[in-house]
């Protein structure tokens, strides 16, 4: 007989081993690739802490990852797969930017909530479409979220480089949004802004929603065992739609938050893997909304470390991608293993 606390301990230990192994592999790679491994390792680990600029930027990079990680956690908790995060982030950013550019005279107190609402709405509608297809025709959301999102990326690209493009710039960017839409910076000279507090608060609310409300309970039961939920009188089909709406909304929000505090404009490809990295973050966090916060920070830390090592030593930025990939593989293998283990136990029980 196994206790919850001991299985939680085992899970934490497993995560520790995974992260440890990832760092070891990274050290090994630095030793192979770098001419000055001591210097590279120093800048990799210490670089992000060197000054407020690096630290703030690292924290700032973690904010959208927290949102996409939360979004994926919601979908996964309900056993719904959302592979369209990238497109939902993209459309969310576009919605917020379009609103801000269309209403440049609005005061911030009205404009910011409206822009964020537009972003949430756009992401939710796009992901919700897949949920609706599943609700109506049992379409596999794994495929539909991915396809819709991929098609969308080209459309948004076209709008950014077309109607919204800044005529005074040679870059593929939109005009800047009006100043009152900008998020307040809190750690100058870095890009970190106040949104980090709201996002952490959102993670806490998400945790509360999943574990303390009856809707969250039903959602989790549908995810763990849909037949049990149906037998218990839960309207299972509702939970084809709702988790994707929430997931898409959070992704859309990530799109808005990622530019309203930093560049204040959209550039082509601004989502830059946020959607995909959200899946990795959710996997590390085991779909626990509170654990998403450190998981996103860890991800941002690796990227910031690699950047610092690249600037100050002789490795390329790709090392970050490699470490993230290693973590991703190990985590997925671990998740897969525990899934097989659970299946096995179910059969032998």
């Amino acid at each position: 007989m196994r206790d919850t606390s001991s299985s939680k301990f085992a899970a934490a230990a497993g995560l520790g081993i995974t992260l440890g192994a990832a760092f070891l592999i990274m050290l090994l790679m630095i030793l192979i690739m770098s001419e000055t491994p001591g210097k590279t390792i120093y800048f990799f680990f210490a670089g992000p802490w060197a000054n407020t600029y690096y630290l703030g930027n690292m924290l700032n990079a973690a904010v959208p990852l927290m949102l996409t990680g939360l979004g994926i956690s919601f979908a996964f908790r309900a056993s719904m797969f959302n592979l369209g995060g990238e497109g939902q982030v993209y459309i969310g950013g576009l919605a917020a930017a379009s609103l801000a550019l269309a209403l440049p005279g609005l005061p911030g107190i009205l404009g910011i909530p409206l822009a964020l609402a537009a972003a949430v709405g756009a992401g939710a509608v796009i992901a919700g479409l897949s949920g609706l297809f599943k609700y109506k025709w049992r379409t596999d959301e794994l495929i539909s979220t991915f396809l819709i999102s991929n098609a969308l990326i080209y459309i948004v690209d076209n709008i950014i480089t077309g109607v919204l493009q800044d005529p005074e710039s040679n870059l593929l960017v939109t005009r800047k949004i009006a100043v009152q839409y900008w998020f307040t910076r809190i750690m100058r000279p870095s890009n970190l802004d106040i949104s980090i507090f709201f996002v952490i608060l959102l993670a806490v609310i998400a945790y509360f929603y999943l574990y303390k409300t009856h809707q969250g309970y039903e959602m989790r039961m549908c995810g763990l065992d849909p037949e049990f939920a149906r037998y218990g009188g839960v309207n299972v089909r509702t939970y084809f739609l709702l988790p994707l709406l929430i997931s898409g909304g959070l992704h859309g929000l990530a799109g808005a938050v990622s530019f309203m505090g930093t560049q204040h404009m959209l550039f082509k490809g601004f989502s830059g893997g946020m959607g995909w990295n959200g899946i990795a973050v959710a996997l590390i966090a085991r779909n626990n909304p509170l654990a998403v916060i450190p998981a996103a920070l860890f991800f941002a830390y690796i990227e910031a470390g690699a950047k610092s090592a690249m600037i100050n030593a002789d490795v390329t930025i790709e090392i970050a991608a490699v470490v993230q990939a290693v973590v991703f593989y190990l985590i997925t293998a671990q998740a897969l293993y525990s899934w097989i283990d659970r299946k096995h136990r179910r059969r032998s029980a």
Partner: protein
């Protein structure tokens, strides 16, 4: 004469529930023979055949083919030895053609790399023709009837040059005509020198098709007989055996008010000629336990799904307290206060990865909201603790239910379902896999529910259980009610007599077959056709 196949002292224990599925079993089958392997559910027939086909390994014992010992480590090895098996549930790829399915795994190749479709279709066509099947090699599986799919499975084995064919419950999904065609095929194949083992529990079929019979009971061989020398009554006695009757104090309450009644309920599945449930009518009243029994595959699980609202009804009406609930979903039914302990405890009855606490509040979780709309942790906790203590569940509220024993999982489900009984409970196979103490605990709970005035429907393939606690017995055979009598009716209700109904030897409700002794003769003749005079 050396037997073609000899399985000697085969023993197989499942350590998970310490069940001896096969206990020093001996089986001898001769070349060109159709050998029937009969027994109740759980008698060990399928385990024995899975061992022969290499799907499972015996703990001890040996297998001889033509006198030489063979070790069958996997189905692939079984194929090499000429052993083929047709499973009860077909393993075919719907989108592939007949030929593609047949050659799958042993595809003819062109240039050692490319799939040679023409060669495949030609070879398969030859096999089909040689054995008098009526199939087109180019037809897609999804276009075929159930009977044709079974033919594809047999062709698949013949293509692999199987000399020994194992068929697991081959008739359970077939119509009468399809059964006749199958039997003709089997006789033809036996005439060609193939050896056939037929797993079944339908005695009429055994009589009409087989040459010899091995009867299994509780993991052991109960008897081996020449088919010609045994009648179906003796077979049914050999299969069922004599068992200790459970004795419970059956104080019958004041029964009168019908709570749930089914009127001519029929449930059919697309592409299947025979309905799963055929014109079912009965009612359950206050203080009454209606026991519904039958052999697996005859409609018990479908009836469970229909009553619980998880399977749609094709025609007929279900009334619950005079309200029409025929087309209500499980969710709506639950809101009316319907309690239900399902057969499938692990998937339907519980969510294994969730805690005992989370498993105990489903359906009622709306009752535990605070004024703010959140789940009230404190109230849930005290309620769950109360149930854990009251039902003597060996576990703590936060533990995942999957870590509990089967008996304790069932107690959690009972606790959840019985705490809020209004006037109707459906129990399906409530003691399946439980030990004596666990079973008695559950019987006591069922009797308590009746004492409190509720109507109880008990669906169970365990006849001892039905006879011990039910007030009315209903027997299903091929989706129809073939018997409905009060348990007090001592003249009819011996275990053996009910067994005859369960096996389709008797039918109180069919005009074509007169009730009473001797009814099986007409029925067997009708089913078996020419085979019976053989």
């Amino acid at each position: 004469m050396t037997p073609y196949l000899k399985m000697q002292n085969i023993t197989k224990v499942y350590p998970a529930n310490n069940l001896k599925a096969n206990d020093t079993v001996n089986l001898e089958v001769f070349k060109g023979e159709i050998h029937a392997l009969v027994g109740e559910n759980g008698a060990g027939k399928t385990t024995l055949m899975n061992i022969l086909y290499g799907l499972e390994q015996p703990d001890s014992g040996a297998i001889y083919l033509n006198g030489t010992e063979v070790r069958i480590g996997s189905p692939m090895v079984a194929h090499q030895h000429g052993i083929g098996m047709v499973h009860q549930h077909f393993k075919l790829i719907q989108e592939f053609t007949v030929a593609e399915n047949v050659v799958l795994g042993m595809e003819p190749l062109r240039g050692k790399l490319f799939f040679d479709r023409r060669q495949a279709e030609q070879t398969v066509a030859e096999v089909i023709e040689e054995n008098n099947f009526h199939l087109s090699p180019a037809a897609r599986i999804s276009e075929l009837s159930v009977g044709q799919m079974q033919q594809v499975e047999i062709v698949k084995m013949l293509y692999r040059r199987a000399d020994l064919l194992i068929l697991d419950e081959p008739t359970s999904v077939l119509t009468e005509q399809e059964i006749q065609r199958l039997f003709k095929t089997l006789r033809y194949l036996a005439g060609q020198g193939k050896t056939i083992i037929l797993i079944t529990h339908k005695l009429g079929e055994v009589k009409s098709i087989s040459d010899r019979i091995t009867v299994m009971r509780k993991g052991e061989v109960a008897a081996v007989r020449e088919t010609a020398e045994v009648d179906e009554y003796e077979l049914s006695r050999l299969m069922v055996g004599k068992r200790i009757m459970l004795d419970f104090d059956k104080e019958v309450g004041f029964c009168s008010e019908p709570i749930l009644s089914l009127q001519q309920v029929t449930a059919a599945r697309k592409h299947q000629d025979r309905p799963l449930l055929d014109n079912i009518s009965f009612s359950a009243s206050t203080c009454e336990i209606v026991g519904i029994t039958g052999v697996a595959g005859n409609g018990l699980s479908e009836l469970e799904d229909v009553i619980s609202g998880l399977m749609p009804v094709s025609s007929g009406t279900i009334l619950y307290n005079d309200i029409d609930v025929t087309h209500m979903s499980a969710m709506e039914l639950r809101k009316t206060g319907f309690s239900y302990v399902p057969t499938d405890r692990l998937k339907r009855g519980s969510s294994l990865a969730s805690s005992i606490r989370e498993n105990m509040i489903i359906t009622n979780h709306h009752d535990y909201l605070t004024r703010g709309g959140l789940l009230d942790g404190k109230r849930i906790e005290s309620h769950v603790e109360e149930l854990i203590a009251g039902y003597q569940i060996d576990g703590r509220a936060g533990m995942p239910i999957g870590t509990l024993s089967g008996g304790n999982i069932q107690k959690v489900i009972l606790a959840r379902e019985l705490e809020k009984v209004r006037d109707l409970v459906l129990f399906a196979e409530p003691t399946w896999g439980l030990d004596v103490a666990g079973s008695e605990f559950i019987y006591q709970k069922i009797l308590d529910v009746r004492k409190r005035g509720a109507a109880v429907i008990l669906i169970s393939s365990n006849l001892d259980e039905i006879l011990a606690i039910a007030d009315t017995v209903i027997v299903l055979y091929r989706g129809r009610i073939v018997m409905k009598r009060p348990v007090r009716d001592d003249a009819v209700l011996s275990r053996e007599r009910i067994g005859e109904y369960m096996l389709g030897l008797k039918d109180d409700f069919s005009a074509a077959i007169p009730a009473g002794a001797g009814g099986f003769l007409e029925r067997a003749a009708e089913e078996g056709g020419e085979g019976y005079s053989r």
